[in-house]
Amino acid sequence: MKVSNALWRDQVLNAMPPELAHEIDIFETELLLRKQGKLDEKLFAETRLRRGAYGQRYDNGQRWDGKETQQLAYPSGELTKGPNTLWDAPGMLRIKIPYGGLNARQLEVVAELAEEYSDGIAHVTTRQDFQLHFIHIDDTPTIMRRLAAVDITTREACGNSVRNVTACPYSGVCHTEAFDVTPYAQALMRFLLGHPDVQDFGRKFKIAFSGCRETGCGLVNMHDLGAIAVTRTENGGERRGFEVYVGGGLGSVPYQAKLLDAFVPVEELLPLTQAIARVFARLGEKKNRNRARIKFLVAQLGMDEFKRLVLAERAQLPPDPRWTAFLDDVSVLDEKPLRPVAALNGAPAPDGFEYWLTTNVYPQKQAGYVTVTVTLPLGDLTPPQLRGLADIARRFTYETVRATVEQNLVLRWISEADLPHLYGALYALGLHQAGAGTIADVTACPGTDTCKLGIASSRGLAGELTRQLAAQVETLDPAVRNLRLKVSGCFNSCGQHHVADLGFYGVSRHAGNYTVPHFQVMLGGQWTNNAGSYGLPIGAVPAKRIPEVVTRITNRYIQDRQPDESFQTFIQRIGKAEIKQLLDDLTPIPPHDLDPTLYTDWRDAREFTLGDRGEGECAGEIVSRIDFDLAAAEREVFEAQVLLDKGEIQAAGERAYAAMLQAAYALVKEQFYAAPNQPDQIIGEFRTRFYNTKLFWDDYAGGKFGHYLFHAHEHAREPYTVDTTRRRIEEAQLVVEAAHSCYRRLLKLKNA
């Protein structure tokens, strides 16, 4: 743990938005409670996941070293940060970047954090997030504070929550968009962050925005909720809205999202999403995580019934000014150029520039300006590169940078005349790689490098494919040059292999006494048209032979394609059986003695094993809302004690009372979801529902704990002394305990 952690809080206090600062303080307290054994490990696991702090491979304290499974004796011993997850084991922190939008200072802070807390790498994910790996959990509150100081949050980046809201990286500069979706993506993200209606999901919930239907870089069809910008002419004027889709998702069984509504006016976007969230929270599966995504609910109910429920929910939502407040100024995020319009003047350009121009530069709809893709190998960046990019963003633009779902960054609003200088600046950073969006720009999830669920090394394979293809991409037949390759370490599809022309996901096969890393080959997925269709598997091939698979299939495509025939059509025409035949001789596994290389994975010296796979945290623990609310009440009691120790008597007494009220409110909400949150009303509801019915009564103490609450409420505004505060804290602890017991009784009654 960093020695300076304690100092950072004061250092950045004034720069943090107060609500984020408060959130992080709460998380730090929860961390402390867990260390003291006062917070259940499952609850803490979901708590940290909802703050973006994820587990990482080997955090169960075991690692196969190629000969045997070694126990990793972390100094923290038995202390855990979740089931089977050791405290000291390095973890991952996911940093949410809504719609991928970043400024220069944010890039610099990510650089600082990568070098001070991680292993010197910042990683861009397939959902426009950043991830830092090999982080110690004790450092996470400080990292969160430093991020909050530049307006970045990790909140709800993992766990059963609304994940990062993604959008086309070309929003606002794209030729085919109906309108710029950026302000809508931002408004929805802000509205849902921490919203009570999105805290009780059985699984994660992913949202994407796209500016158009056909090109569709937003990949709407593979999201739980997707919005495509559309316009209508009404009363002679243009009206903005969204085609809203629900129930898409990849994972082991991919679903295409279904159209919920062909035109949702922009002012209806937030309330409709809120209504969808409520229906999902109420009716979505909670026990079986494998069927808990909204796609299963939509499939089970059918779209008509799902829509009926959503509209009924929408009809009874209490109005919220935030639904439309952002519409007063949707131009607030409008970007502008820093540099004047000027055309490329034909001056001599550096080597490599011309080809880079053809693959990495996209002419914007604003004449004279282009968006430049910075190709990141495997989505990775070093701190000096991040700082260098920050300099570039300041030098050439008003810091208009976005992360993409293809694990690259784009620089928007580059004046064409600046391109040679920009190329030179990128060259100096080693970020001038051409081939963005081509077959050499391979996407990969973390796989066995860091993911607990990884089966095979997706990054290892992607790295090797990139190495081989980058060397030849310039001379490749144009038909294959723009194919997309994507690799996942397992069937969970974080590498988005379903929407690749050639996709791969990690599997394994037995050979003698060995296990051999393989990849399942998927063909014919479609990235455009908002992830228009998903590829189909044709068979598993040993990992080390996948480059040969790519060579054979692409050669066959070049050789046998009909004029203008797309890869998808080609695959459909010649059929899976024939393609499979093409690969048949690649599938037999020679004995270990003959060729041991097949028995190791890419970029890994160890003999392959599946033994390192752990329990995934993708789904998080299923923890209900009341569990969180009661944990929050307990934390309030703890904080009251801390305040008392500091001599802040009045604040301590008030905090203890707040803890009691919080516990009572948690119970009330269990029966009456929309219960008002004013103290008198909470107490009234509590008295009617739990005290008078004796549901809250203890077998031995009877209604005593209820009396504590009523008494504290009656005297809430009176001055506290040390004695009354101490007593109030003890009573608060008992009330919270009694609320836990009461909840257990409620569950029993429910299950009886």
Binding site: M1, Q11, R63, A73, P90, E112, E116, G120, T382, G430
Partner: protein
């Protein structure tokens, strides 16, 4: 100044380009054989990044990396856990761990390191901001451990970058050539009881 999280880099002296792939196996072998005092966890491969961390052996208290920052290959030892003792002891301990790892790599792989230049990074911006003032404040503290390291040899001590966004990184260069083995001997000699 409570100096912690010290990083030390010693540069490779072998001529020509060096293939880092074998180091994945070498570092994994260190894990298998528990070759350091610290808990070793995993190997991370970042060879695909330009001037990046190369191949990294991840440990609990420290990482070892065949690092290529600024296009200069070297062994970077990054201490992550808090260190005990005087600042001089902490620096000597960190340098000793780095040099031992260098010597091990020299034996196992034939890679050659130079002892003539050592880079010291203070991996904590708040405690040690990259300013001339910090260097001046540190100079007297660094004198003792650097004299232990370089023995009688004269050396220079400079910041390598004036960019305040970067971490404070100091380049220590001996005026005459010196080997890793000599540096280790110098450190050990000082540890002998009088």
């Amino acid at each position: 100044m409570d100096l912690q999280h010290l990083n030390v880099k010693v540069f490779v002296a072998s001529p020509g380009p060096i293939d880092l792939e074998p180091f994945i196996g070498i570092f994994n072998n260190w894990i298998q054989r528990h070759l350091t005092d610290d808990l070793l966890i995993d190997v991370a491969d970042y060879r695909h990044t330009v001037n990046g961390p190369g191949v990294v052996l991840i440990g609990h208290a420290a990482n070892y990396s065949l690092d290529q920052t600024d296009g200069r290959l070297g062994l970077l030892y990054s201490h992550k856990a808090a260190l005990m003792g005087s600042i001089a002891d902490r620096l000597c301990e960190t340098m000793r761990a780095t040099l031992l790892a260098c010597r091990r790599l020299e034996h196992e792989n034939g890679l050659k390191f130079s002892g003539s230049e050592v880079q010291l990074t203070f991996n904590d911006r708040l405690l040690a901001p990259n300013t001339p003032k910090t260097l001046e404040a540190l100079r007297p503290t660094l004198q003792e451990p650097l004299e232990r390291l370089y023995g009688q040899a004269a050396y220079t001590l400079n910041r390598i970058s004036g960019d305040p966004r970067e971490r404070l990184t100091l380049s220590v260069k001996s005026v005459t050539p010196i080997t890793v083995t000599t540096l280790l001997q110098n450190l050990a000699a000082e540890r002998m009881p009088a």
